[in-house]
Protein backbone atom coordinates (compact mmCIF):
# COMPACT_ATOMS: atom_id res chain seq x y z
CA UNK A 1 0.00 0.00 0.00
CA UNK A 2 2.90 2.32 0.78
CA UNK A 3 3.99 1.87 -2.78
CA UNK A 4 0.67 3.03 -4.17
CA UNK A 5 0.38 6.02 -1.85
CA UNK A 6 4.00 7.07 -2.30
CA UNK A 7 3.59 6.58 -6.02
CA UNK A 8 0.54 8.80 -6.22
CA UNK A 9 2.13 11.50 -4.05
CA UNK A 10 5.29 11.40 -6.14
CA UNK A 11 3.15 11.47 -9.27
CA UNK A 12 1.32 14.60 -8.16
CA UNK A 13 4.60 16.27 -7.22
CA UNK A 14 6.01 15.48 -10.65
CA UNK A 15 2.93 16.79 -12.43
CA UNK A 16 2.67 19.96 -10.38
CA UNK A 17 6.38 20.79 -10.37
CA UNK A 18 6.31 20.81 -14.18
CA UNK A 19 9.13 18.30 -14.54
CA UNK A 20 10.48 19.16 -18.01
CA UNK A 21 11.01 15.55 -19.06
CA UNK A 22 7.47 14.52 -18.15
CA UNK A 23 6.01 17.43 -20.08
CA UNK A 24 8.25 16.87 -23.06
CA UNK A 25 7.06 13.25 -23.19
CA UNK A 26 3.45 14.41 -22.89
CA UNK A 27 3.91 16.92 -25.67
CA UNK A 28 5.48 14.30 -27.95
CA UNK A 29 2.59 11.91 -27.30
CA UNK A 30 0.05 14.56 -28.18
CA UNK A 31 1.95 15.59 -31.26
CA UNK A 32 2.45 12.10 -32.66
CA UNK A 33 -1.07 10.88 -31.93
CA UNK A 34 -2.67 14.19 -32.92
CA UNK A 35 -1.00 14.21 -36.32
CA UNK A 36 -1.70 10.51 -36.79
CA UNK A 37 -5.38 11.08 -36.02
CA UNK A 38 -5.63 14.01 -38.45
CA UNK A 39 -3.98 12.00 -41.23
CA UNK A 40 -6.26 9.06 -40.46
CA UNK A 41 -9.25 11.35 -40.90
CA UNK A 42 -7.93 12.55 -44.25
CA UNK A 43 -7.49 8.96 -45.43
CA UNK A 44 -10.26 7.23 -43.54
CA UNK A 45 -13.21 9.53 -44.20
CA UNK A 46 -12.97 9.45 -48.02
CA UNK A 47 -12.39 5.69 -47.98
CA UNK A 48 -15.28 5.11 -45.56
CA UNK A 49 -17.55 7.35 -47.63
CA UNK A 50 -16.53 5.62 -50.82
CA UNK A 51 -17.28 2.19 -49.36
CA UNK A 52 -20.63 3.40 -48.06
CA UNK A 53 -21.78 5.11 -51.23
CA UNK A 54 -20.31 3.25 -54.17
CA UNK A 55 -21.09 -0.30 -55.26
CA UNK A 56 -18.31 -2.07 -57.13
CA UNK A 57 -16.96 -5.62 -57.49
CA UNK A 58 -14.77 -6.60 -54.56
CA UNK A 59 -16.47 -4.12 -52.29
CA UNK A 60 -17.47 -6.67 -49.67
CA UNK A 61 -13.90 -7.95 -49.54
CA UNK A 62 -12.63 -4.41 -48.98
CA UNK A 63 -15.28 -3.81 -46.32
CA UNK A 64 -14.20 -6.98 -44.53
CA UNK A 65 -10.58 -5.84 -44.74
CA UNK A 66 -11.45 -2.46 -43.23
CA UNK A 67 -13.43 -4.13 -40.48
CA UNK A 68 -10.50 -6.44 -39.74
CA UNK A 69 -8.23 -3.42 -39.80
CA UNK A 70 -10.29 -1.83 -37.03
CA UNK A 71 -8.83 -4.42 -34.70
CA UNK A 72 -5.32 -4.50 -36.10
CA UNK A 73 -2.86 -5.60 -33.38
CA UNK A 74 -0.37 -2.72 -32.90
CA UNK A 75 2.60 -5.09 -32.49
CA UNK A 76 1.90 -6.61 -35.89
CA UNK A 77 1.75 -3.14 -37.40
CA UNK A 78 5.00 -2.34 -35.58
CA UNK A 79 6.65 -5.44 -36.95
CA UNK A 80 5.70 -4.77 -40.57
CA UNK A 81 6.59 -1.08 -40.46
CA UNK A 82 9.91 -2.01 -38.85
CA UNK A 83 10.70 -4.50 -41.59
CA UNK A 84 9.92 -1.86 -44.20
CA UNK A 85 11.82 0.98 -42.54
CA UNK A 86 14.94 -0.74 -41.25
CA UNK A 87 17.94 0.59 -43.12
CA UNK A 88 18.45 -2.90 -44.52
CA UNK A 89 14.76 -2.99 -45.54
CA UNK A 90 13.08 -1.93 -48.79
CA UNK A 91 12.41 1.65 -47.61
CA UNK A 92 15.50 2.00 -45.48
CA UNK A 93 16.91 4.74 -47.71
CA UNK A 94 14.29 7.09 -46.28
CA UNK A 95 16.07 6.94 -42.91
CA UNK A 96 12.77 6.99 -41.06
CA UNK A 97 13.33 4.22 -38.51
CA UNK A 98 13.37 5.47 -34.91
CA UNK A 99 11.85 8.84 -35.81
CA UNK A 100 8.59 10.54 -34.94
CA UNK A 101 7.59 10.17 -38.59
CA UNK A 102 7.85 6.39 -38.31
CA UNK A 103 5.66 6.49 -35.22
CA UNK A 104 3.08 8.63 -37.03
CA UNK A 105 3.05 6.18 -39.95
CA UNK A 106 2.45 3.24 -37.62
CA UNK A 107 -0.33 5.03 -35.80
CA UNK A 108 -1.99 6.07 -39.04
CA UNK A 109 -2.01 2.43 -40.12
CA UNK A 110 -3.71 1.58 -36.82
CA UNK A 111 -6.18 4.48 -36.75
CA UNK A 112 -7.28 4.92 -40.34
CA UNK A 113 -9.21 1.64 -40.63
CA UNK A 114 -11.04 2.61 -37.42
CA UNK A 115 -11.94 5.97 -38.92
CA UNK A 116 -12.85 4.40 -42.27
CA UNK A 117 -15.00 1.71 -40.64
CA UNK A 118 -16.90 4.13 -38.44
CA UNK A 119 -17.31 6.62 -41.30
CA UNK A 120 -18.75 3.89 -43.47
CA UNK A 121 -21.17 2.91 -40.73
CA UNK A 122 -22.26 6.49 -40.10
CA UNK A 123 -22.79 7.23 -43.81
CA UNK A 124 -24.90 4.15 -44.17
CA UNK A 125 -27.26 5.44 -41.49
CA UNK A 126 -27.96 8.56 -43.58
CA UNK A 127 -31.12 8.66 -45.59
CA UNK A 128 -30.15 7.48 -49.11
CA UNK A 129 -32.54 10.04 -50.62
CA UNK A 130 -30.38 12.85 -49.22
CA UNK A 131 -27.61 11.90 -51.59
CA UNK A 132 -29.90 11.90 -54.59
CA UNK A 133 -31.30 15.26 -53.56
CA UNK A 134 -27.85 16.78 -53.25
CA UNK A 135 -26.81 15.39 -56.62
CA UNK A 136 -30.12 16.64 -57.99
CA UNK A 137 -29.38 20.22 -57.01
CA UNK A 138 -26.05 19.93 -58.78
CA UNK A 139 -23.52 19.13 -56.09
CA UNK A 140 -20.08 18.09 -57.33
CA UNK A 141 -18.46 14.98 -55.84
CA UNK A 142 -16.25 16.84 -53.33
CA UNK A 143 -19.25 19.00 -52.40
CA UNK A 144 -21.35 15.91 -51.95
CA UNK A 145 -18.74 14.36 -49.65
CA UNK A 146 -18.45 17.56 -47.65
CA UNK A 147 -22.21 17.93 -47.26
CA UNK A 148 -22.69 14.30 -46.30
CA UNK A 149 -19.87 14.65 -43.75
CA UNK A 150 -21.73 17.59 -42.27
CA UNK A 151 -24.87 15.54 -42.04
CA UNK A 152 -23.03 12.64 -40.43
CA UNK A 153 -20.84 14.80 -38.23
CA UNK A 154 -22.04 13.37 -34.93
CA UNK A 155 -21.08 9.77 -35.62
CA UNK A 156 -17.97 11.11 -37.36
CA UNK A 157 -16.92 12.70 -34.09
CA UNK A 158 -17.15 9.26 -32.54
CA UNK A 159 -14.75 8.10 -35.25
CA UNK A 160 -12.31 10.86 -34.29
CA UNK A 161 -12.52 9.86 -30.63
CA UNK A 162 -12.05 6.18 -31.37
CA UNK A 163 -9.11 6.88 -33.66
CA UNK A 164 -7.37 9.19 -31.22
CA UNK A 165 -8.13 6.93 -28.26
CA UNK A 166 -6.72 3.99 -30.15
CA UNK A 167 -3.38 5.57 -30.94
CA UNK A 168 -2.63 7.66 -27.85
CA UNK A 169 -2.97 4.56 -25.68
CA UNK A 170 -1.08 2.25 -28.02
CA UNK A 171 2.35 1.01 -26.97
CA UNK A 172 3.37 -1.93 -29.18
CA UNK A 173 4.06 -0.22 -32.48
CA UNK A 174 5.55 3.04 -31.19
CA UNK A 175 7.92 1.02 -29.01
CA UNK A 176 9.10 -0.94 -32.05
CA UNK A 177 9.38 1.76 -34.69
CA UNK A 178 10.26 4.61 -32.35
CA UNK A 179 12.74 2.74 -30.21
CA UNK A 180 11.66 4.52 -26.99
CA UNK A 181 14.68 6.83 -27.22
CA UNK A 182 14.96 9.22 -24.31
CA UNK A 183 14.19 12.77 -25.37
CA UNK A 184 13.45 11.80 -28.97
CA UNK A 185 10.83 9.13 -29.41
CA UNK A 186 9.78 8.36 -25.85
CA UNK A 187 6.03 8.87 -25.44
CA UNK A 188 3.67 8.42 -22.51
CA UNK A 189 2.94 4.74 -23.09
CA UNK A 190 6.52 3.60 -23.76
CA UNK A 191 7.83 5.71 -20.89
CA UNK A 192 5.26 4.11 -18.57
CA UNK A 193 6.44 0.63 -19.56
CA UNK A 194 10.08 1.55 -19.00
CA UNK A 195 9.55 3.33 -15.69
CA UNK A 196 7.51 0.37 -14.39
CA UNK A 197 10.31 -2.02 -15.32
CA UNK A 198 12.83 0.24 -13.66
CA UNK A 199 10.76 0.36 -10.49
CA UNK A 200 10.18 4.12 -10.72
CA UNK A 201 6.54 3.66 -9.84
CA UNK A 202 5.99 7.33 -8.98
CA UNK A 203 7.01 8.44 -12.43
CA UNK A 204 5.09 5.56 -14.00
CA UNK A 205 1.91 6.52 -12.13
CA UNK A 206 2.40 10.18 -13.04
CA UNK A 207 2.71 9.30 -16.71
CA UNK A 208 -0.31 7.01 -16.47
CA UNK A 209 -2.38 9.74 -14.85
CA UNK A 210 -1.37 12.25 -17.50
CA UNK A 211 -2.31 9.77 -20.22
CA UNK A 212 -5.72 9.23 -18.64
CA UNK A 213 -6.24 12.96 -18.19
CA UNK A 214 -5.32 13.66 -21.80
CA UNK A 215 -7.56 10.95 -23.10
CA UNK A 216 -10.38 12.20 -20.91
CA UNK A 217 -9.87 15.85 -21.87
CA UNK A 218 -9.96 15.14 -25.60
CA UNK A 219 -12.99 12.91 -25.30
CA UNK A 220 -14.72 15.38 -22.99
CA UNK A 221 -14.19 18.16 -25.49
CA UNK A 222 -15.47 16.13 -28.41
CA UNK A 223 -18.41 14.81 -26.38
CA UNK A 224 -19.31 18.39 -25.48
CA UNK A 225 -19.44 19.32 -29.14
CA UNK A 226 -21.39 16.20 -29.95
CA UNK A 227 -23.96 16.64 -27.20
CA UNK A 228 -24.42 20.35 -27.82
CA UNK A 229 -25.10 19.50 -31.41
CA UNK A 230 -27.58 16.86 -30.41
CA UNK A 231 -29.76 19.41 -28.65
CA UNK A 232 -29.76 21.82 -31.56
CA UNK A 233 -30.32 19.09 -34.06
CA UNK A 234 -33.58 19.91 -35.80
CA UNK A 235 -36.31 17.35 -35.31
CA UNK A 236 -37.07 15.50 -38.54
CA UNK A 237 -40.29 16.86 -39.86
Amino acid sequence: MDLILDGIIQALQLMLSGDPEVWQITFLSLKVSGIATLLSLLLGIPLGAFLALVRFPGRSLLVSLVNTGMGLPPVVVGLFISIMLWRSGPMGFLNLMYTLTAMVIAQVVIAFPIVAGLTMASFQTLNPKLRLQLLGIGASRPQLLWLLCKEARLPLLAAVMAGFGGVISEVGSVMMVGGNIKGQTRVLTTATVLETQMGNFGTAIALGLILLTLSFAVNFLLTQIQQREQIRWPKPS
Binding site: R87, S88, Q197, M198, G199
Partner: protein, 278 residues
Protein backbone atom coordinates in the same frame (compact mmCIF):
# COMPACT_ATOMS: atom_id res chain seq x y z
CA UNK B 1 -29.21 24.67 -40.16
CA UNK B 2 -26.39 26.77 -38.70
CA UNK B 3 -23.25 26.99 -40.80
CA UNK B 4 -20.16 26.18 -38.85
CA UNK B 5 -17.52 23.43 -38.37
CA UNK B 6 -14.02 23.67 -39.74
CA UNK B 7 -13.88 24.37 -43.49
CA UNK B 8 -11.64 22.02 -45.41
CA UNK B 9 -9.20 24.80 -46.30
CA UNK B 10 -8.51 25.52 -42.65
CA UNK B 11 -8.06 21.81 -42.04
CA UNK B 12 -5.48 21.60 -44.81
CA UNK B 13 -3.54 24.55 -43.41
CA UNK B 14 -3.63 22.98 -39.96
CA UNK B 15 -2.33 19.71 -41.34
CA UNK B 16 0.49 21.50 -43.10
CA UNK B 17 1.55 23.35 -39.97
CA UNK B 18 1.42 20.21 -37.88
CA UNK B 19 3.25 17.88 -40.23
CA UNK B 20 5.74 20.16 -41.89
CA UNK B 21 8.15 20.77 -39.01
CA UNK B 22 8.06 17.14 -37.87
CA UNK B 23 11.67 16.36 -38.65
CA UNK B 24 13.18 19.81 -38.39
CA UNK B 25 11.56 20.22 -35.00
CA UNK B 26 13.18 17.08 -33.63
CA UNK B 27 16.48 18.19 -35.11
CA UNK B 28 17.09 15.11 -37.16
CA UNK B 29 19.45 15.96 -40.00
CA UNK B 30 20.33 12.58 -41.38
CA UNK B 31 24.13 12.56 -41.28
CA UNK B 32 24.15 13.86 -37.71
CA UNK B 33 22.41 10.74 -36.49
CA UNK B 34 24.20 7.78 -35.00
CA UNK B 35 22.29 4.62 -34.21
CA UNK B 36 23.79 2.90 -31.18
CA UNK B 37 22.56 -0.62 -30.64
CA UNK B 38 23.32 -1.72 -27.15
CA UNK B 39 22.41 -4.05 -24.36
CA UNK B 40 19.60 -3.19 -21.96
CA UNK B 41 22.04 -3.20 -19.04
CA UNK B 42 23.88 -0.08 -20.21
CA UNK B 43 20.55 1.75 -20.29
CA UNK B 44 18.94 0.15 -17.25
CA UNK B 45 22.05 0.90 -15.19
CA UNK B 46 21.62 4.56 -16.09
CA UNK B 47 25.13 4.93 -17.56
CA UNK B 48 24.07 5.92 -21.07
CA UNK B 49 21.69 8.57 -19.76
CA UNK B 50 24.81 10.29 -18.38
CA UNK B 51 27.20 9.62 -21.26
CA UNK B 52 25.02 10.43 -24.27
CA UNK B 53 24.02 14.01 -23.37
CA UNK B 54 27.68 14.93 -22.72
CA UNK B 55 28.69 13.47 -26.08
CA UNK B 56 25.83 15.24 -27.84
CA UNK B 57 26.79 18.56 -26.32
CA UNK B 58 30.38 18.22 -27.45
CA UNK B 59 29.91 16.94 -30.96
CA UNK B 60 26.35 17.78 -31.96
CA UNK B 61 25.74 14.17 -32.99
CA UNK B 62 22.31 12.85 -32.11
CA UNK B 63 22.65 9.36 -30.73
CA UNK B 64 19.68 7.08 -31.12
CA UNK B 65 20.16 4.51 -28.42
CA UNK B 66 18.33 1.29 -29.14
CA UNK B 67 18.58 -0.79 -25.98
CA UNK B 68 17.91 -4.42 -26.80
CA UNK B 69 19.52 -7.69 -25.81
CA UNK B 70 23.07 -8.16 -27.04
CA UNK B 71 21.92 -10.87 -29.45
CA UNK B 72 19.55 -8.48 -31.18
CA UNK B 73 22.07 -5.62 -31.03
CA UNK B 74 24.65 -7.77 -32.80
CA UNK B 75 22.06 -8.81 -35.39
CA UNK B 76 21.26 -5.13 -36.02
CA UNK B 77 24.97 -4.50 -36.51
CA UNK B 78 25.30 -7.38 -38.92
CA UNK B 79 22.33 -6.15 -40.98
CA UNK B 80 23.64 -2.60 -40.91
CA UNK B 81 20.63 -1.29 -39.00
CA UNK B 82 23.00 0.29 -36.46
CA UNK B 83 26.24 2.27 -36.80
CA UNK B 84 28.01 1.44 -33.58
CA UNK B 85 27.51 -1.31 -31.00
CA UNK B 86 28.13 -1.55 -27.27
CA UNK B 87 27.58 -5.12 -26.14
CA UNK B 88 28.84 -7.77 -23.75
CA UNK B 89 29.19 -11.13 -25.45
CA UNK B 90 32.90 -11.47 -26.35
CA UNK B 91 32.64 -14.80 -28.18
CA UNK B 92 29.76 -13.74 -30.46
CA UNK B 93 31.35 -10.32 -31.02
CA UNK B 94 34.68 -11.80 -32.06
CA UNK B 95 32.91 -14.19 -34.40
CA UNK B 96 31.24 -11.25 -36.21
CA UNK B 97 34.54 -9.36 -36.33
CA UNK B 98 36.17 -12.43 -37.85
CA UNK B 99 33.43 -12.63 -40.47
CA UNK B 100 34.02 -9.00 -41.32
CA UNK B 101 30.67 -7.53 -40.24
CA UNK B 102 32.15 -5.53 -37.38
CA UNK B 103 35.47 -3.75 -36.90
CA UNK B 104 37.52 -2.02 -34.20
CA UNK B 105 36.17 -4.13 -31.33
CA UNK B 106 37.57 -2.62 -28.15
CA UNK B 107 36.87 -3.95 -24.68
CA UNK B 108 36.70 -0.85 -22.50
CA UNK B 109 34.97 -1.72 -19.27
CA UNK B 110 33.73 -4.61 -17.19
CA UNK B 111 31.78 -5.44 -14.13
CA UNK B 112 30.43 -8.76 -13.04
CA UNK B 113 27.34 -10.90 -13.06
CA UNK B 114 25.83 -11.92 -9.76
CA UNK B 115 23.23 -14.52 -8.88
CA UNK B 116 20.37 -12.95 -7.01
CA UNK B 117 17.39 -14.56 -5.35
CA UNK B 118 15.00 -14.45 -2.42
CA UNK B 119 16.45 -13.61 1.00
CA UNK B 120 15.25 -17.00 2.27
CA UNK B 121 17.58 -18.67 -0.28
CA UNK B 122 15.88 -22.09 -0.23
CA UNK B 123 18.47 -23.53 -2.65
CA UNK B 124 21.30 -22.37 -0.35
CA UNK B 125 23.09 -20.69 -3.21
CA UNK B 126 24.97 -18.61 -0.64
CA UNK B 127 27.14 -21.61 0.21
CA UNK B 128 27.77 -22.75 -3.35
CA UNK B 129 31.39 -23.41 -4.29
CA UNK B 130 31.16 -21.82 -7.76
CA UNK B 131 28.64 -20.27 -10.12
CA UNK B 132 27.88 -23.49 -11.99
CA UNK B 133 27.41 -25.24 -8.66
CA UNK B 134 24.98 -22.52 -7.59
CA UNK B 135 22.83 -23.11 -10.68
CA UNK B 136 22.98 -26.85 -10.11
CA UNK B 137 21.64 -26.37 -6.59
CA UNK B 138 18.80 -24.21 -7.92
CA UNK B 139 17.94 -26.87 -10.51
CA UNK B 140 18.04 -29.67 -7.95
CA UNK B 141 15.84 -27.73 -5.55
CA UNK B 142 13.58 -26.75 -8.49
CA UNK B 143 13.62 -23.42 -6.73
CA UNK B 144 12.53 -21.12 -9.53
CA UNK B 145 14.93 -19.51 -11.98
CA UNK B 146 14.07 -16.64 -14.29
CA UNK B 147 16.06 -16.57 -17.50
CA UNK B 148 16.28 -13.63 -19.89
CA UNK B 149 15.72 -16.12 -22.70
CA UNK B 150 16.48 -13.41 -25.27
CA UNK B 151 19.94 -14.34 -26.52
CA UNK B 152 21.34 -11.32 -24.69
CA UNK B 153 24.84 -11.18 -23.25
CA UNK B 154 23.48 -12.09 -19.84
CA UNK B 155 21.53 -14.99 -21.34
CA UNK B 156 24.62 -16.20 -23.19
CA UNK B 157 26.58 -16.11 -19.95
CA UNK B 158 23.80 -18.00 -18.18
CA UNK B 159 23.87 -20.70 -20.87
CA UNK B 160 27.64 -21.02 -20.47
CA UNK B 161 27.10 -21.61 -16.77
CA UNK B 162 24.45 -24.29 -17.37
CA UNK B 163 26.80 -25.94 -19.84
CA UNK B 164 29.57 -25.86 -17.26
CA UNK B 165 27.15 -27.45 -14.80
CA UNK B 166 26.30 -30.08 -17.45
CA UNK B 167 22.60 -29.33 -17.15
CA UNK B 168 19.86 -28.46 -19.62
CA UNK B 169 17.39 -26.48 -17.55
CA UNK B 170 13.75 -27.19 -18.24
CA UNK B 171 10.54 -27.57 -16.32
CA UNK B 172 8.04 -25.29 -14.71
CA UNK B 173 10.67 -23.91 -12.32
CA UNK B 174 12.63 -22.45 -15.26
CA UNK B 175 10.96 -19.33 -16.67
CA UNK B 176 12.07 -17.46 -19.79
CA UNK B 177 10.92 -13.85 -19.98
CA UNK B 178 12.31 -12.71 -23.31
CA UNK B 179 12.57 -9.23 -21.82
CA UNK B 180 15.29 -6.83 -20.70
CA UNK B 181 17.25 -7.02 -17.48
CA UNK B 182 15.05 -4.58 -15.58
CA UNK B 183 11.84 -6.43 -16.43
CA UNK B 184 13.43 -9.81 -15.71
CA UNK B 185 14.69 -8.69 -12.30
CA UNK B 186 11.23 -7.50 -11.42
CA UNK B 187 9.70 -10.85 -12.37
CA UNK B 188 12.34 -12.74 -10.36
CA UNK B 189 11.66 -10.54 -7.35
CA UNK B 190 7.89 -10.96 -7.60
CA UNK B 191 8.15 -14.72 -8.02
CA UNK B 192 10.76 -15.23 -5.27
CA UNK B 193 12.95 -16.78 -7.91
CA UNK B 194 16.65 -16.68 -8.73
CA UNK B 195 18.21 -15.01 -11.73
CA UNK B 196 21.55 -14.03 -13.19
CA UNK B 197 22.03 -10.28 -13.56
CA UNK B 198 24.77 -7.78 -14.19
CA UNK B 199 25.66 -6.03 -10.97
CA UNK B 200 25.05 -2.52 -12.35
CA UNK B 201 21.39 -3.04 -13.25
CA UNK B 202 20.74 -4.84 -9.98
CA UNK B 203 22.26 -2.07 -7.87
CA UNK B 204 20.34 0.54 -9.81
CA UNK B 205 17.02 -1.22 -9.20
CA UNK B 206 17.79 -2.78 -5.83
CA UNK B 207 15.64 -0.51 -3.71
CA UNK B 208 12.49 -1.61 -5.53
CA UNK B 209 13.31 -5.33 -5.45
CA UNK B 210 13.00 -7.95 -2.72
CA UNK B 211 15.95 -9.95 -4.06
CA UNK B 212 19.45 -10.19 -2.56
CA UNK B 213 22.84 -10.87 -4.06
CA UNK B 214 23.48 -14.49 -3.09
CA UNK B 215 26.47 -15.50 -5.14
CA UNK B 216 29.34 -13.54 -6.65
CA UNK B 217 33.03 -13.71 -7.41
CA UNK B 218 33.43 -16.64 -9.82
CA UNK B 219 35.78 -15.77 -12.74
CA UNK B 220 33.09 -17.14 -15.08
CA UNK B 221 30.89 -14.25 -13.92
CA UNK B 222 33.11 -11.58 -15.42
CA UNK B 223 31.04 -9.27 -17.65
CA UNK B 224 33.06 -7.62 -20.41
CA UNK B 225 31.72 -4.67 -22.40
CA UNK B 226 33.10 -3.74 -25.79
CA UNK B 227 32.38 -1.01 -28.29
CA UNK B 228 32.70 -1.74 -32.01
CA UNK B 229 31.91 -0.31 -35.44
CA UNK B 230 29.63 -1.72 -38.07
CA UNK B 231 31.75 -2.28 -41.15
CA UNK B 232 30.78 0.39 -43.72
CA UNK B 233 32.34 -1.75 -46.45
CA UNK B 234 29.45 -4.17 -45.94
CA UNK B 235 26.65 -1.60 -45.72
CA UNK B 236 27.11 1.62 -47.67
CA UNK B 237 24.48 3.50 -45.68
CA UNK B 238 26.27 3.23 -42.34
CA UNK B 239 27.23 6.55 -40.74
CA UNK B 240 30.89 5.55 -40.51
CA UNK B 241 32.14 8.97 -39.53
CA UNK B 242 29.64 9.36 -36.72
CA UNK B 243 30.24 5.84 -35.49
CA UNK B 244 33.99 6.42 -35.41
CA UNK B 245 33.49 9.67 -33.52
CA UNK B 246 31.36 7.96 -30.87
CA UNK B 247 33.72 5.00 -30.64
CA UNK B 248 36.76 7.15 -29.99
CA UNK B 249 34.86 9.39 -27.60
CA UNK B 250 33.84 6.41 -25.44
CA UNK B 251 37.54 5.55 -25.20
CA UNK B 252 38.54 9.16 -24.39
CA UNK B 253 39.70 10.24 -20.95
CA UNK B 254 36.60 12.32 -20.50
CA UNK B 255 34.20 9.41 -21.03
CA UNK B 256 36.44 7.10 -18.99
CA UNK B 257 36.29 9.47 -16.04
CA UNK B 258 32.50 9.50 -16.21
CA UNK B 259 32.39 5.70 -16.40
CA UNK B 260 34.86 5.25 -13.54
CA UNK B 261 32.86 7.56 -11.28
CA UNK B 262 29.40 6.37 -12.27
CA UNK B 263 27.54 4.98 -9.29
CA UNK B 264 29.99 6.11 -6.58
CA UNK B 265 27.70 8.81 -5.24
CA UNK B 266 24.55 6.70 -5.20
CA UNK B 267 25.81 3.23 -4.39
CA UNK B 268 29.12 3.90 -2.68
CA UNK B 269 30.82 1.85 -5.38
CA UNK B 270 31.38 2.25 -9.10
CA UNK B 271 29.08 0.17 -11.31
CA UNK B 272 31.66 -0.32 -14.06
CA UNK B 273 35.42 -0.77 -14.01
CA UNK B 274 37.72 0.50 -16.75
CA UNK B 275 39.82 -1.85 -18.81
CA UNK B 276 43.20 -0.76 -20.17
CA UNK B 277 42.75 0.21 -23.83
CA UNK B 278 45.03 -1.73 -26.11
Amino acid sequence: MRRHTLPSGALAVLMFILTFPLNSWTGEPVNKIIILATTTSTRDSGLLDILIPVYHKETGYIVKTIAVGTGKALAMGKRGDADVLMTHAPTSEMQLVKEGWLTHRTQFMHNDFVIIGPAADTAEVRHASDAAGALKQIAEARAGFVSRGDNSGTHKNERTLWKTARLAPQGSWYIETGQGMGATLRIASEKNAYTLTDRATFLNLQKTLASRILFEGDPLLLNKYSVMLVNPARHSWVNAEGAKSFHSWVLSDEARNIIADYGKDRFGQPLFFLDPIR
